[in-house]
Subunit: 245 residues, 2 copies
Amino acid sequence: MNNRRSGPGTPGKTPLTASPWKASHERERDREVKRDAVIRAAAREFNRKGYHNTSLDDIAARLEVTKPTVYYYVTSKEQLLFQCFVAGVERIRAAFREVRRSQAPGRERLSAVLRHYGEAVASEFGWCMVRAEEQDLAPAMSRHIKALKSEIDQGIRRLIREGVQDGSIQPCDPKMTAFALAGALNWIAHWYREDQSLSGAQIAAAFVTVFEAGLRPRGNGAVAEPAAREAPRRRARRTAAALTR
Amino acid sequence: MNNRRSGPGTPGKTPLTASPWKASHERERDREVKRDAVIRAAAREFNRKGYHNTSLDDIAARLEVTKPTVYYYVTSKEQLLFQCFVAGVERIRAAFREVRRSQAPGRERLSAVLRHYGEAVASEFGWCMVRAEEQDLAPAMSRHIKALKSEIDQGIRRLIREGVQDGSIQPCDPKMTAFALAGALNWIAHWYREDQSLSGAQIAAAFVTVFEAGLRPRGNGAVAEPAAREAPRRRARRTAAALTR
C-alpha cells in the first residue's frame, strides 16, 4: 500500500503513479507530527514562563515558524493549554488501557499505571497537567479536564480495591490511598527539572518503590513481622535508660 | 505578677494600682491576638480568591475594620502573604522541636512531624504555604521561604535516616522518600476544603497510615512475608490459566 513513491533504497525502480503531491495519508501524518511539535513547544514555554507570560509569538519563535503557521494547528492559546493537558493525561489513560488486558495482581497493575503517571508529570506536559489554573480555560474545557481527572482518580481507586481483593495490596482506604499516591506524583511537577540527574522514569520508579514498601520495616522470611516492629522501640528504651543512668 | 487588675472572679478586692490603661504586657498580647486575626483573615481570603484578586480592603472588610487598622499590623499585602507562609510553616517547625526532645524511634518521630505537617497544609494557611507563587514576593522574602522549605526537607530526611539507623524505618532512599511524603502532604492544599467530612487532623492521620503501611501486604505473626507476597501472583497465574483453558 505504501509504495507510491520509491525511497532512496530502491534505485532504478520508477513508481507507476509518480506525483509531486504527498499521498493523503502522508499529509495527515505530516500534519499530526507538526501539530504534536506545536503542542510540545507550547508545553515547554508554559512550563518555563507560565501561561499568562507566554504568547503564541513565543511559541512560533521557538519553532522558527510564523504565528499563522501555529494558528493552522490550533485555534487559540487556551486550546493549546487544553491540548497540553490532554497530551499528558493521555499517557496515563494509555497505561490504564494496557493494564486492563493484563492478568497480573492488582498491585502490579497499579504500580505500572503509577510509573506512567509519574513519567507524564515529569515530562514537558507536567506543568500543564498539574499547575495550570482551570480558571484560565473556558467552562467546557474546564469541565472536560475535571472529568478526565476524575476518571483517573476513579481508575486508581479501582486498581487499589482490586489489589486488596486479590490480596496483593494491604487492606486500606482506597480514597485516601489514591489521594496520597496521586498527590506525591503530582507534586513532581513542582520540583522536577529536565536537567536533573534522574530521568522522569527513574523518579517514577523510585516513588513506586516508596509506595510499595511503606516506612514500617518488613520482617524477612525468618523474622515474624510484629517482633521486627517492636524491636526499635525496645532498643530506644534501652538507649533512654542508658542515658539516664 | 499578673494581679494589677482584679477580674470578675475576685469581687470586693480593689487593685492597688488601678489604671484606665492596659498594662504593657496586656497591650502586647492584645496586639498579637489582633495581628494573628489579620493574618488568618488574609490566609482565608488568599485561599478563596487567590493572591492577586485579594485587596487589603477585602481583608479589612472581613474583619469589619478599616484599611488603616490592617496597616497597623502589617506593612503590605506582600508581607501578609509572607506572614501567612511563616505561620503555617511554624507549626511544622514546632513539631520538629517537640520530637527533638523525644526518645521514640525515628519512625514515630517522623510520623508525628508528618501529622503536624498535614494539619498545617489542611489549615487556612495551606494555600499560602503551597500554592502561592514565590515570584509574588520580594527576593529577600522569597529567599527566606526557600530556606525554611529546605530546613523542613532536610529535617524530614534526617528523621528518615535516623529511623533507618534505629531499625524503625525500612531501608530507603531518604531524598526520594522525603519528596514522596512531602509531595503527598503538600497536595492536600489542592483538594482539601474546610467544609469536608474529614478534619485536617483526620486526613493527616490517614495519610500517615498509608505511608507507614505501604501497598505491599505484610505477613502477620504466623506467615512469613515472602510467602504472603508471592501468593497473589500465583493466584493470578491460576486465573490466567483457567481463562486460556
